[in-house]
């Protein structure tokens, strides 16, 4: 079997593992590290359920090989929860807006919105209007909610995120 040793920092913890080179980052997170919060819907880039933050920006974990993440810093949905176990403001906003039913898509939406909030805090331009938010979140698919409440939650989360 074709393998490599990689060291990856996930949610602030360093992990050194030997992985098969064909393993996707998503499978590495879920199966090797047991971080099953990252969901897999389509495994080819179209649904957004597997969205994580890699070196500060959102990315599809199904579209990257685990070997490519050697040396990278990754945040998954497990890592956005505050250290005391409280929900992150993005999670609060989605909950308060009733932004999910089955919840399968939720980790992807949390990470996509979290990514936008982090960019806003860093002073980068982020979508403001509902129309822009819809466009921005069009890369995440939800089969249950009808999206309205997800946009409500995203709007509330972005309004609460302040430039540092």
């Amino acid at each position: 079997m074709n393998t490599r040793e990689i060291t990856v920092t996930v949610n602030g913890r360093r992990h050194t593992r030997t992985v098969e080179v064909r393993r996707t980052l998503a499978d590495f997170l879920r199966e090797d590290l047991g971080l099953t919060g990252t969901h897999l819907g389509c495994e080819h880039g179209v649904c957004g359920a597997c969205t994580v933050i890699i070196d500060g920006v959102t990315a599809r974990s199904c579209l990257q090989l685990a070997v490519q993440a050697d040396g990278a810093e990754i945040t998954t949905v497990e890592g956005v929860t505050l250290p005391d176990g409280e929900l992150h403001p993005v999670q609060e906003a989605l909950r308060d807006s009733h932004a999910f039913q089955c919840g399968f898509c939720t980790p992807g939406f949390v990470m996509a919105i979290y990514g936008m909030c982090e960019e806003k805090k860093a002073g980068k331009p982020v979508p403001c209007s509902r129309a822009e938010l819809r466009e921005e979140l069009s890369g995440n698919i939800c089969r249950c909610s009808g999206y309205q409440q997800i946009i409500d939650g995203a709007e509330a989360a972005l309004a609460a995120a302040k430039e540092a």
């Binding site: 080819h44 880039g45 959102t58 199904c62 466009e135 069009s138 890369g139």
Partner: protein
């Protein structure tokens, strides 16, 4: 939905990468370059691509620069699409590229997808190959025989096909910076935001007063590769951008088109769409040209 096994290499120089591309795998099979992975990894997962070896070029230094010198904008092949989208240099020197990039997929895709990867992949519906053809971009390639420059008109050779040899890596893309009085627009129609467009139009025009002095138009989604609309360009030069000129340009371009019908759109609809989008793109480009004069 899991990639088939392959051998993985991550060279740290262009020379090393070229060697890995040139050397045939022991048990036969293809060798593939991996850049942003936003097209290749889906193909691996769907097993539409089963290369024997993958050469990951992400650890080669020096391929992520954006620079403008002597009126030429150079983008390294590994510049992420999102980086170019937010670059002030690109916005000033190549407004057409800045206008086109937001149409590519979604933010998370553009965070990883590269300029070089999109051009090398050469999807006929993709934005960046259409921009490259529209602007007569030059593609810089490195292979076993050294470096060469390939003009866009010779680069896109057919369905997902380019002039790159099997042992060649695309390392940079060059375009001439725009002159004052130039405006650009990229217009497309996709079924959903972020999907590949049914038809897309890249347009760049330069005005002297109200008169068009230079026009560039290219279309995506109407053939196996992006198409330059030379007759439409000729119909614009020397004229003011009014309804009559726009119609003449749209008619000149669509007369020669023979798009295919597929699941997403019929040939007739694609042809109609091309005309509508040419009018829209040229009109918007001209408005921006006036603003920039």
């Amino acid at each position: 939905m899991k990639p088939a096994a392959f051998d993985y290499q991550s060279p740290t120089s262009i020379a090393e990468a070229v060697q890995m591309l040139a050397e045939p795998p022991e048990d036969g099979g293809d060798v593939k370059v991996l850049a942003g992975g936003q097209s290749l990894v889906p193909l691996l997962s769907l097993r539409l691509a089963t290369p024997a070896r993958i050469v990951d070029i992400n650890r080669i230094p020096g391929l992520t620069g954006i620079s403008e010198e002597g009126g030429v904008l150079t983008l390294g092949a590994l510049v992420r699409q999102r980086t170019a989208e937010h670059s002030d240099v690109v916005a000033r020197a190549c407004p057409l590229m800045a206008a086109a990039i937001p149409h590519i997929g979604h933010t998370a895709i553009r965070n990883r997808g590269t300029i070089g990867g999109s051009i090398a992949h050469a999807d006929s519906a993709a934005e960046l190959p259409t921009v490259a053809l529209c602007l007569d971009a030059e593609m810089v390639a490195h292979g076993s025989n050294g470096e060469r420059t390939i003009p866009a008109a010779e680069f896109f050779t057919g369905f997902f096909s380019t002039a790159l040899a099997e042992d060649e890596i695309l390392t940079a893309v060059r375009v001439r910076s725009v002159a004052p009085g130039t405006g650009a627009a990229y217009e497309e129609l996709a079924r959903r935001h972020g999907d590949f467009a049914m038809v897309g139009v890249a347009a760049q025009v330069r005005l002297d007063g109200d008169t068009v002095t230079e026009a560039r138009i290219a279309l995506s989604g109407v053939d196996a590769q992006p198409v330059r609309a030379s007759k439409a360009e000729a119909a614009l030069v020397g004229h003011t951008v009014d309804e009559q000129t726009l119609s003449a340009a749209a008619d000149a371009a669509t007369a020669d088109l023979h798009p295919a019908s597929d699941l997403h759109a019929s040939a007739a609809y694609r042809k109609h769409l091309a005309g509508v989008l040419i009018r829209r793109a040229v009109r918007n480009a001209a408005t921006r040209a006036k603003e920039s004069a």
